[in-house]
C-alpha cells in the first residue's frame, strides 16, 4: 500500500510546484540581489576608504618624514618620535598583558574549581572589555599620572594600556582554551603527563592559533588607541633616550595624527601617518594569516 501513497504525494507535490513556480523563483532572486547589494555597498566603502587614504598618504611619505622630528624652529616635520613612542607603547604593554592575561585564562580554565569565581571574573572582564577606552584614560590619568605621580608619560600610558587590554587577552585565550577537546587532556594525563606538562605540551599547542589571533587583535587595538593615550601619555614628539623617554610625555602615531589634524591643521602629515598605520595593520593581518596557516599545517 505504501508505494501508492508515495505516488499520490508526489503528484500533490508536483501540482503544488506548478501553481507557484514563478513566485518562488522571484523570491529567491530578490534575496540574492539584496544580499549582493549589501555586499557591494560594504566593499565599495572599505575599498574606496583605503584607496583614498593611500592616494593622500603616498606623496607625503618619504625618508625625511619617516626619520625626522617635528621642530618649530627648524620648521621640520617628521614622525620618528611618534614611531618610537608607538613601539614602546606596543611592546611594553604586550610584555605584561600577554603573560598576565594568558596566565589568568589558563588558571580559570584549567585549574579553578569554583564555578562561581570563574563566572564572576568572566562577567567582570566582559563588562571591562566593553568600556569605552576614554574611561580607562580618565582612570589611568587619576591613578597613574596623579596618584602614583608618574605625570603624563609613556609609562603611565603603557600601564593604562595594560589594564585596558588584560580583559581582551584573557577572554580570547579562554575562548580558545575552551575549544580544546577534553579527550586531549585525558589522553596526555593517561600517559603519565602531569597537569602543567599536559597544558603546555598539548593544550596550549592545540589552541595556539586562537591565542595568536587574540594577541594580534590587541596589537591592532593598541595601534589605533588614541583616547586613553591622550589623557595619559600626552602629545610630545621629541626624540628621547629610552629611559628618559619612559618618564616623559610622548605621542603615539594615532595621537600624533590627532595633533596634526586637529591642532595644527597639517592634513598632509595626518594622512601620511594614516598611511603608515594602514601599512602596519596590513602587515599585522598578513602575519596573522601566515602564522595561522603554519600552525594548521603542523
Amino acid at each position: 500500500m505504501i508505494p501508492i501513497k508515495t505516488k499520490e504525494m508526489l503528484l500533490i507535490q508536483r501540482s503544488a510546484e506548478k501553481t507557484k513556480p514563478n513566485y518562488r523563483k522571484w523570491k529567491d532572486r530578490l534575496f540574492q540581489a539584496s544580499l549582493w547589494g549589501a555586499m557591494s555597498v560594504c566593499a565599495v566603502l572599505t575599498f574606496s576608504l583605503i584607496v583614498y587614504v593611500a592616494i593622500k598618504a603616498v606623496p607625503n611619505i618619504n625618508l625625511d618624514f619617516l626619520l625626522g622630528q617635528p621642530s618649530y624652529i627648524e620648521d621640520t616635520i617628521g614622525i620618528l618620535p611618534a614611531i618610537l613612542n608607538t613601539l614602546y607603547l606596543l611592546l611594553g604593554p604586550l610584555l605584561f598583558v600577554v603573560p598576565l592575561g594568558v596566565g589568568a585564562a589558563i588558571y580559570l580554565n584549567e585549574y579553578c574549581k569554583s564555578a562561581r569565581l570563574v563566572s564572576l571574573i568572566e562577567y567582570t572582564s566582559d563588562i571591562l572589555s566593553g568600556i569605552p577606552s576614554i574611561v580607562y584614560g580618565l582612570v589611568g590619568m587619576l591613578f597613574f599620572c596623579q596618584f602614583f605621580n608618574l605625570q603624563t608619560s609613556i609609562l603611565a600610558g603603557a600601564l593604562t594600556l595594560v589594564i585596558m587590554n588584560i580583559p581582551t587577552i584573557m577572554k580570547t585565550t579562554r575562548e580558545s582554551l575552551k575549544t580544546v577537546p577534553n579527550s586531549y587532556r585525558e589522553g596526555a594525563r593517561a600517559l603519565g603527563a602531569g597537569k602543567w606538562k599536559t597544558i603546555h605540551t598539548v593544550v596550549l599547542k592545540s589552541c595556539r592559533s586562537g591565542m595568536i589571533t587574540g594577541i594580534l587583535l590587541t596589537v591592532g587595538r593598541i595601534l589605533g588607541e588614541s583616547a586613553a593615550l591622550l589623557l595619559t601619555a600626552g602629545f610630545a614628539q621629541v626624540l628621547n633616550p629610552i629611559y628618559e623617554g619612559m618618564f616623559s610625555s610622548g605621542a603615539s602615531l594615532s595621537v600624533a595624527m590627532y595633533v596634526f589634524a586637529k591642532e595644527r591643521g597639517e592634513f598632509d602629515v595626518a594622512f601620511g601617518i594614516a598611511g603608515i598605520l594602514l601599512i602596519l595593520t596590513l602587515i599585522i593581518s598578513v602575519a596573522a594569516q601566515i602564522l595561522e596557516a603554519r600552525t594548521k599545517e603542523r
Partner: protein, 252 residues
Amino acid sequence: MMNPVLQAKGLDLWYGDHQALHSISLDIFEKTVVALIGPSGCGKSTFLKTLNRMNDLVDSVRVEGDVLYESHDIFDPILDVNDLRKEIGMVFQKPNPFPMSIYDNIAYGPRIHGIKNKRVLDQIVEQALKDAALWDEVHDRLKKSALSLSGGQQQRLCIARALAIQPKVLLMDEPTSALDPISTAKIEELIDQLKTKYTIVIVTHNMQQAMRIADQTAFFLMGELIEFNDTQELFLRPQDPRTSDYVNGRFG
C-alpha cells in the same frame, strides 16, 4: 600460583553522594585479557578508570578499599600517580590522537618521561607502531598529522602511543565502539597478539567481542561485581541468574 598484577579488594567508590561501586574484589593475572561487561551505568568504566586513577580527574570522587598493583597500594600518597600511569596505559572509547604528527604522537609519552635521544625515540616509535600493526600503513608518512588517519588507524595509533611507554597493563575503555566492523576486527586481532606481552583489561558493550578475545570476563550490574569467571564458563554456565539473564539478552 603467581601473584595477580592488579588486585581490587573491597573497592567502594562514590561520585558525590552516589555510590558507583560496591565492594568490588577482583584479581587480574599477568598476560591475560579480562573483559568487563554489563549494561550502561553499571560501573564497569568507573572501575577501569580507578585502576590507573583517571578518576582522580573527576571532582567529588571518593574511594574506599584497596587496589594493589604488583602488591603496592595505588592510593598510597607517596606514590606518584604519573609513574603509575606509565605502568598502566589507557586507550579510550573515542580515538584521541593529539593534533600533531604521527611520530610526535607516539614519541609524546617517552618524551615526557625524559627520553630525548633522537635515535632511541626513532626506535621506540617504530617498535610501538609495529606492535600496534600500524607500521606498514604509516611508515612513509610519520611527519603527517595524526588527524589525517582513518578512525580505525587513529585508534591503533592511540594503542601504539600507549605502548610506547612500555606499560605492563593496558586498560581499554570500549576501544572499538566508535569503529566500523573491519577496524574492529583488526583491533581484536591486535589484542590477541598483545596479550603475549601485556595484561589487558577491556570494557566492552559487545558480548561477542568479550567471548572472542577475553580469557576471563567480569559481569557488573548496578555497581556490583556479580560474577567473575573464565569467559567460556561465564557465558555457557553462568552461576548467577542475573548473569544468565544478561548474557542471554533478557535485559541490558
